[in-house]
Amino acid sequence: MDMIKTTIDGREIEVQRDRWALEVAREMGIEIPTLCHHSALEPYGACRLCVVEVTKGKWTWLTTSCDLPIREGLTIRTDTPAVIAARKTALELMLAQAPDAEEVRQLAEQLGTKSPRFPDRNESNACILCGLCVRVCKVVTGKMAICFSNRGTDRKVGPPFDRSSDECIGCNACVDICPTGCIESRDEAGIRKIPMLKTELKLADCEVCGKPFAPIRQLEHMQAKLREKFGDDFEAGCICPVCRREQTAARLHNVAEKIG
């Protein structure tokens, strides 16, 4: 393994070459705010909150730490005035962009960002265009049901071509990952509705308790994925998480009794 030395906030450590600076710093207990980062996804570098000051030789510059691979000769500082100022400005811009984003508001408060000196860009909007929803859908779910359209300040998130799309399996990954909670999803009368994606999917009923619990399309997608892994005969079953837990618990109980 290629180990190299680096210094973060004055503390020299030895790390594997090319590890992301953000991860390493957080492991060292250093707090760095992020909004577009998630450990399940590749670094993206969009929100620019994780900015740090890097020195190499005679050069010093600001850069995001999430997508900074640690290499020879880098000295990193996460708390300089320039870093703090950059984070404050980023939050100020995001607050004016998405005044309803609670997460942004809290971060801004923590860092002492004043109320924005700019007019609100969108009234009642919480999307900060971090792209987590877009990336989780593509990379983790393996679908492209939510994507960016337009560019610059017209950029927005929505279903492909702004229409209800068969790509969406209603898995709610985008809903769960959104840092500002701006994608709404609700289950009503056996239907999962995600209004932003114009998704309305019928839920499957649990084989055991009979209650609707997950979109049929999501179960089909999972079935297909599992068959890829375990062969064509694999049958995932249609059991809701609650019943599955009960069944597993019962099985464990039986085993425990047998062992005595």
């Binding site: 929100c47 691979p69 950059a86 980023a90």
Partner: protein
């Protein structure tokens, strides 16, 4: 037509010799500019007219008609040059052709009225090489643009084309080629100015196969047409450079990324790729060697950000054209995650010249850290709009006055913007600045890809900053917060200042946001987006203050802050302003009665001021 494939380097030399031997230097040749500008000026119809007239007169065999690439003097199109005499005819229309043929081809006279008339001296100049616009240039990359037919590879070969490739393949090891490019001091012509040789070496040293060689033809600056003209006018020079580069780096495939707005460039490149492949100077086993290189054209949809290297690669991959961090260089992990070398069109076109003429010759041109020449598209308030190629280190003054012929109507120079929309605006006291990568960066502008926009005293620098910031705001991909949100806020502040709603503290906020955007954006678009604003704030701060404090636009451009009045003493009552006014707001202006503007009707469009021959209309 079946084309004989050249299967060894010697065959190329022999073929060239045969082309040269069969051509007659003394044979009259009509060179018609087939660049986009001259086409818009009717160049194609002029070509047709020549062919028709020559046929009528039975001269088809005796006179060659050749559609070439852009000659550069776009202001005067459609351009026609007659060889061997070297006569230049400007603003030629199909109706002029008969007279030209009769006078200058059948006879040896000159059609005086179609010769170039120098605006300053009003003297007529008959020969192309005597025209100051051309005489003061040093054409290295554009040398063959006005001579070869871009759709005929034989023209390029006859002019020595692909000779550098043969030399590289037979006499040089890849490392020697990279060494030569390094020693030549060639720096990227696309804007960054990164050392080309160093880039090649890191791509050569990178592990992983396949390796890619790319050409960046995504020229997107408003008013820039350098790369376009090279791709349209001499596509083989770009291809030859790429093949040499691929051989040096060890790449066997590549792409040329061109925007869809450049259909002629795409067409001519496609023809060039086909012909080069048929001739054996591209494709499998180039010139009989075991080196192969295949290149494809990738057409971009015209997003400005796709000129940025990582966005360009994403676009070729079929993804949204968005940049990513470049801590890991594209020479290590570029297109499809493989080692990739990307150079701009003009950079590639420099490569065959360096290999052919040698490092000593090349380094004799230019300044210490910027070698060779640079192509600029000279536009704006300038007499000689066009494409110019000059040695690095030439002053702005020489480009604007000696080559460009100065400002129309003798108006005063105010500023020049170098480097396209994200370049800086330099004032008059910078006119003697030598133009090279480092000097321009030092004063807050940049070389960029070579757009050069000249502005006269009727240009408002706040409005210029607003205009370019608006462009960049629209062209930002929107991925990162600083560029998407920051440039928007810069634009909003600039817009409010030009509309007369600015406050003094806005200027401070503007500067603060500019710094934030510059230091925090992902890619070059955001990092340089503040240049127009920061450079105008630096050199023309008074104008900002006049807008905010005095509610006046000193240049008389911002409509909300301008009132035009006619000076009664200077007005000669000629009536020119009356005719120019689109809203009939001017009365008088006849029978020695000075003209007068009705302020209620006036929309402050400035048409009257431009029309006035006596500078009687003031703000």
């Amino acid at each position: 037509m079946t084309v004989k494939k050249l299967t060894e380097p010697d065959a190329l030399a022999k073929y060239r010799d045969s082309l040269v031997a069969s051509s007659d230097d003394g044979k009259p040749c009509v060179l018609i500019c087939g660049g986009t500008g001259c086409r818009a000026g009717g160049g194609l119809a002029v070509g047709d007219a020549f062919r028709e007239v020559l046929e009528q007169r039975g001269l088809t065999e005796k006179v060659e008609v050749r559609m070439t690439g852009c000659h550069g003097f776009c202001e005067q199109g459609a351009l026609v040059v007659l060889k061997p005499a070297g006569l230049l005819y400007v603003r030629v229309t199909p109706e002029d052709v008969e007279e030209i043929v009769a006078t200058s081809i059948e006879g040896d006279g000159v059609v005086e009225r179609l010769t170039y008339r120098e605006p300053a001296t009003k003297k007529r100049i008959t020969r192309e090489s005597d025209v100051p616009f051309y005489a003061n240039q040093q054409r290295v990359v554009l040398a063959d643009n006005g001579r070869v037919d871009p759709t005929n590879i034989d023209d390029y070969i006859a002019a020595g084309g692909y000779g550098s490739l043969a030399k590289a393949l037979t006499q040089m090891q890849p490392d020697e080629i990279i060494d030569a490019i390094e020693r030549s001091g060639l720096r990227g012509r696309g804007g960054g100015g990164f050392a080309t040789g160093r880039k090649w070496r890191s791509a050569r040293n990178a592990t992983g196969q396949p390796k890619y060689v790319l050409c960046n033809g995504d020229e997107g600056d408003p008013g820039a047409f350098m790369d376009r003209s090279i791709m349209e006018g001499n596509p083989h020079s770009v291809l030859e450079g790429m093949v040499i580069g691929a051989y040096a780096i060890g790449a066997d495939r590549g792409y040329i990324y061109v925007r869809m707005e450049y259909p002629l460039a795409i067409e001519n490149l496609r023809i060039a790729i086909d012909q080069a492949t048929q001739r054996g100077v591209l494709g499998e086993n180039i010139l009989g060697s075991d080196f192969s290189f295949n290149v494809k054209i990738s057409r971009g949809a015209g997003a400005f950000v796709c000129g940025e290297s990582t966005a360009l690669m994403a676009s070729i991959e079929g993804l949204t054209g968005e940049p990513r961090a470049k801590h890991i260089h594209t020479s290590e992990k570029g297109l499809f995650g493989k080692p990739t070398n990307l150079n701009n069109v003009e950079t590639w076109a420099n490569v065959p010249v360096i290999i052919d003429k040698g490092v000593e010759w090349y380094t004799s041109i230019g300044t210490e850290n910027s070698k060779g020449t640079k192509v600029f598209s000279l536009v704006g308030a300038i007499n000689n709009t066009g494409l110019v190629e000059v040695p690095m280190g030439i002053t702005l003054r020489e480009i604007i006055y000696d080559i460009g012929g100065g400002i129309p109507k003798g108006r005063p120079f105010k500023a020049v913007q170098t480097g396209g929309p994200s370049g800086g605006c330099l004032p008059e006291n910078m006119l003697d600045l030598p133009v090279d990568f480092d000097q321009l960066t030092e004063v807050g502008s940049m070389m960029g890809s070579g757009g050069m926009i000249v502005m006269n005293d009727h240009t408002c620098m706040v409005e210029i900053a607003r205009y370019f910031t608006d462009f960049l705001r629209r062209e930002s991909c929107g991925k990162c917060t600083p560029c998407r949100e920051g440039v928007l806020r810069m634009y909003e502040i600039l817009d409010s200042i030009t509309a007369g709603r600015g406050k003094m503290e806005d200027i401070d906020l503007l500067e603060e946001i500019c710094g934030y955007v510059r230091d925090n954006s992902i890619c070059g678009l955001g990092k340089t987006a503040a240049n127009p604003t920061l450079s105008t704030l630096r050199f023309f701060r008074d104008e900002y203050i006049a807008h905010v404090k005095d509610h006046k636009c000193p240049a008389g451009v911002c409509q909300a802050l301008t009132t035009f009045i006619i000076d009664e003493k200077t007005c000669k009552a000629c009536g020119a302003c009356l005719k120019a006014c689109p809203v009939e707001a001017i009365s008088g202006g006849a029978k020695k009665k000075p003209a007068k503007i009705d302020q209620d009707k006036c929309t402050t469009c400035g048409a009257c001021r431009e029309a006035c021959l006596f500078d009687a209309i003031m703000t």
